[in-house]
């Protein structure tokens, strides 16, 4: 069961948080994560955050392909 989506953490209230994506907000449980900060992007599955997204890895994944795409455009 895998349906999960990246949403931005905008508020922390104990072991619950409020996450948002394009104006859609939801209270979720942070019980499955150790440390989070406001502004983190979290993967949300069935009302729980299951992981924090790694921005550096995300950028690396796309970087080489963006380079190729840019070279091709020129």
């Amino acid at each position: 069961m895998c349906l999960a989506i990246p949403m931005k953490l905008i508020k922390i209230e104990g072991n619950k948080g409020i996450v948002a994506l394009s104006g859609v907000k939801k209270e979720i449980s942070l019980n499955l994560l150790k440390e989070v900060e406001i502004g983190d992007y979290l993967i949300i599955h069935a009302g729980f955050a299951i992981e924090k997204l790694n921005e550096e890895e995300a950028n690396k994944t796309l970087a080489i392909w963006k380079e190729i795409a840019d070279i091709q455009k020129k």
Binding site: A46, I50, A58, W65, A69
Partner: protein
């Protein structure tokens, strides 16, 4: 939408398609790639990527749909519970239409059963608090992505002294299913598209023994079109270069090597691993999660006693074989005749992205 839109970029996606096409220019053998995740099945169909790839790449949908691999006995038990006057079943939407031996939760909802569709297991706790005279039974169906959520919910119920909340645990583990498929040798799998969010929880390690023992390339893949294509490209590279197969992680932005340790510790705290029956695969060793004795207060099987009808498999239904990729839907005698999306007999026809339902849509024969 950050972390989504950029992975749906058409020109990036087509770059990878080009790369795959050029890698397979001279390689004409059939390549069978299996995914074992319902959301991967859905994403592959939704993005239409197979229509962009060379014809010799075959996409196999494995037993990655947790409701599809749930045996009839579990569904019959859930139905029996729903008929009890003092019981409310809470469940994810996916489970509603799956047929058991003679009925489904959807049909029970229309009859005497009380069934509520929820988005999160935590909603069951609210329902339990608002209905103190009822027993609330949550159907715990799902793989490693969902199990820690249910574990956390049980722990919250304990902390809050909620004593009318129960879980009927049907959670299963993906790596044993992958192993069973490869051991059966009934189907040729050249590479595994490993489930993205299951891997968020379990990390990379559980796949190493599979790669080692069976010599099969495995790539952990995300869900956006870019991820799917990149993951396929990585598998194709391993297969065509014929180097030592390895486990690779395409979804590094979400999957850490060690997984989510806190989630894993919650699973370990609440559940124990035992042999478990899977539709289509039989009983697989150490493949199911069952509630530990310490938390037996929340175990539906221990607390809710009722008559469950004798399990019947529909003669002619070969969903088990279709789930494992050993038979195609059109090889089933019931497909398109007695078994249609309007009147599904087996789970593969129920979900709009189930293998049989997907074939039916394309009218493949």
């Amino acid at each position: 939408m950050k972390y989504i839109t950029e992975y749906r970029n058409k020109s990036l996606a087509l770059k990878i398609v080009d790369k795959i096409n050029s890698t397979l220019k001279e390689y004409k053998e059939k390549i069978s790639l299996m995914e074992v995740c319902g959301t991967h099945t859905h994403s592959i169909f939704r993005s239409g990527i197979m229509s962009l790839l060379p014809e010799n790449i075959e996409h196999l949908s494995g037993p990655g749909c947790p409701v599809c691999v749930t045996p009839n006995k579990y569904i019959d038990t859930a139905i029996a519970y729903s008929r009890l006057p003092d019981t409310i079943i809470t469940t994810f939407g996916d489970m509603i239409k799956v047929p058991g031996s003679t009925s489904s939760l959807e049909k029970e909802k229309a009859s005497v059963g009380t069934v509520r569709i929820i988005y999160s297991p935590l909603e069951s706790l609210e329902i339990a608090k608002n209905n103190p005279d009822k027993k609330i039974v949550f159907l715990g169906v799902g793989f490693e992505t969902t199990a820690p959520l249910v574990a956390s919910t049980i722990l919250s119920a304990k902390d809050e002294n909620i004593n009318n909340f129960f879980v009927l645990s049907g959670h299963k583990l993906i790596p044993p299913a992958m192993t069973a498929l490869l051991e059966s040798k009934e189907i040729k799998i050249d590479g595994f598209i490993c489930p993205g969010h299951v891997s968020v929880i379990i990390g990379e390690k559980p796949y190493y023994p599979i790669v080692e023992k069976f010599g099969i390339p495995c790539v952990i893949v995300g869900f956006e079109p870019f991820d799917l294509l990149k993951g396929i490209e990585m598998l194709i590279k391993q297969i065509t270069e014929k180097k030592k197969p390895s486990l690779e992680n395409q979804y590094k932005r979400a999957v850490r090597k060690e997984g989510n340790e806190k989630a894993l510790s919650l699973i370990d705290k609440v559940f124990e691993i035992k042999d478990s029956p899977w539709r289509g695969l039989g009983v697989l060793p150490k493949s199911g999660l069952y509630i530990k004795e310490t938390y037996s207060d929340f175990d539906a099987e221990k607390h809710i006693k009722c008559q469950v009808e004798k399990t019947k498999e529909h003669p002619g239904c070969i969903c088990g074989k279709v789930l494992c990729g050993t038979k195609k839907p059109y090889e089933c005698k019931l497909y398109g005749k007695a078994c249609t999306p309007e009147n599904p007999i087996g789970p593969c026809m129920v979900s709009s992205e189930g293998t049989c339902a997907a074939y039916y849509k394309f009218k493949k024969r």
